[in-house]
Point group: C2
DNA sequence: CGACGTTGTAGCAACGTTGTAAATAGCAGA
DNA sequence: TCTGCTATTTACAACGTTGCTACAACGTCG
């Protein structure tokens, strides 16, 4: 049961291969009668274009890569789903590459995918540094999402991490918390530095002194790390009355650790997360969190690649380096202000 | 900055295109000196084979499809990650198709991917019925995961859903619950019927009468649906003292609804989920759940496609229809037996 | 009535790769 | 030196598609 080709259709319709191709591609000048015959033959044979061959001819691959740490991380699962949907609108399929957040695998992801494999790539790098990009540029448009590695001439889409963190911590100060901790410090993560900066800015704005030991680092950003970090904070002689976690998973872990110690949230301890993963709306208590517009991130990233890739094809002047900030909101829930009403 | 082709390498090395191809493909009879020259040229040019062209020539695509409802659903995010990893071991890239669980999009996913696009597909159909497969067979090996639609001649990988459900509900009976509800009944989902069957079997085994109104249907299997269904159960004059949810998301929603009503879990109400998503280990209380071996599912599914696809290539007799059951375990946590110790 | 534009069709080549088969080189034995 | 191998290399075609170009048919207009 071989797949039908243009040739099969042409024979059946009694025209040339090229005419069938013209019909398939919507070329205007085809005699109505022939068009009809071809269309019938197309249906009769169940013809589907061979994407590989078409792309070989056109010099496009029809694929973009999405390089991320792990699909099982809710934020990336959600993002990947949105990227796939956005890519489909441009006729692209998405190849997902999981790196576990390691520099090594991020490097190989970049090198192994040449221009004949993908038309572009969306990266969510955790560990990749500026110099890595120099030798690794794979000859296709790249877009970074969610991380700000300065000095890299690559398009970038993200929310304003500093402002978002400042907003989150500002909220904690606004509800009267004076001893606000943070979980997620990490010298190897670009976003961590930005969120820490926002945290500090908010403390300063609120006239609160920064206490070094209240900023607990996290190597990974999983639930387990959040729980461990929270435990450390609860072991302090002077406990914090609020904690800003650099992502929702850390916050979920923190919630868990608080519950294990009998610490009430938000009465004894307010918690804010970051990412607004679906899980955060249903945790107990539900989690106040920074809600980035993930759909906007996905669509913007795909559009940028699309723009660059058609620019290149048409020899147009490439547009300037983009650094696009997408909207975000602070989603206020029980973990900071307590129970108000049952969710719908 | 065009990508290097075999021709470029050949010119640089001073040999024919075919010789370069032979070196690349590990053909034995190449003069050592030429091999060396070619290898140098390969490095110098940074040659990467054009996968599209190679597959066009070989009649393979190098891709398998993974058809699932939505990546943002934790279970599918986790599964997808494992499938990608398993596929890589066989040299495959994975194309993910999201269907939202609708019959329509599941149908188009099957038809739009012909044999020139993919070498096989792994399906997690929600709504597809037996007759759909008849006309849709895309000419490539298919494997279904997680759903049992009988009478369809397609390989199948899943845990024993009936036994798993029976185990879960048996556990509830074993801890002394007498009025055990279920959430997730749904006539359009294959797994729902099996889990309901296991639920009933366990009730019978425990000598408990089945109460129709304790089996609440769920259209979707999201957290919201679980919360709604739980609300209905808590509105009953005679409340259940336990509930078996057909997946973890429903259970998370149920937990939430219970908390909103001030119902204590597990004291007043024990809850069991299904899937062992990472989230379930950190919910408050943590969730007792059926833990399928997802890695085994992913690897088995990929292996089956690999087996069929090489069989077909070598004209070997295809092996018999496979219906493989992968292991599962009951993961007992706080939502049924209460707090024992803090998690590590 | 011939030149010309418009509409419709088809042949050829090429995208980068590899299987087939044919060509060449090297070398031992006659 | 010539034959007959084997070892090595190469030309060619083909996978399915589309851009380019040539060409045919038809009508219009000066």
């Amino acid at each position: 049961m071989r797949a039908a080709t243009l040739k099969d259709v042409a024979v059946l319709a009694g025209v040339s291969v090229k005419t069938v191709s013209n019909v398939v591609n919507g070329y205007a000048f085809v005699k109505p009668e022939n068009r009809r015959k071809v269309e019938e033959a197309l249906i009769a044979t169940g013809y589907r274009p061979n994407i590989g061959a078409r792309n070989l001819r056109r010099g496009k691959t029809g694929f973009i890569a999405l390089v991320l740490p792990e699909l099982s991380i809710p934020y990336f699962g959600e993002l990947a789903g949105l990227v796939i949907t956005a890519a489909q609108a441009h006729g692209w399929n998405v190849l997902i590459e999981q790196t576990q957040g390691t520099r090594d695998r991020e490097r190989t992801a970049l090198t192994s995918m040449g221009p004949h494999m993908i038309d572009g790539a969306i990266l969510s790098p955790q560990a990749l540094s500026a110099e890595d990009f120099a030798d690794l540029a794979p000859g296709v448009p790249l877009v970074m999402v969610g991380e700000h590695a300065v000095d890299v001439p690559i398009d970038h889409v993200a929310i304003d991490n500093v402002l978002a963190a400042r907003t989150a911590v500002g909220h904690l100060a606004a509800i009267g918390r004076r001893r606000i901790a943070s979980i997620g410090r990490n010298p190897h993560r670009g976003t961590a530095a930005l969120r820490l900066e926002g945290y500090r800015a908010a403390l300063a704005e609120a006239g609160l002194a920064e206490d070094e030991e209240l900023s607990v680092p996290a190597l990974e950003y999983h639930r387990r790390d959040g729980a461990q970090a929270m435990s450390r904070l609860l072991d302090l002689p002077e406990r914090p009355d609020a904690v800003f976690c650099f992502n929702d998973l850390l916050a979920i872990g923190a919630l868990r650790a608080a519950a294990d110690r009998g610490v009430r949230v938000p009465e004894d301890l307010a918690i804010v997360g970051f990412d607004n993963t679906e899980e955060s709306a249903y945790s107990i208590p539900s989690l106040t969190t920074i809600a980035p517009d993930k759909k906007a991130i996905a669509e913007t990233a795909v559009s940028l690649i699309h723009g660059r890739s058609t620019d290149a094809a048409e020899n147009a002047t490439p547009f300037d380096l983009q650094d696009i900030q997408t909207p975000f909101a602070l989603e206020i829930r029980e973990s900071t202000i307590g129970r108000t009403r049952a969710p719908a």
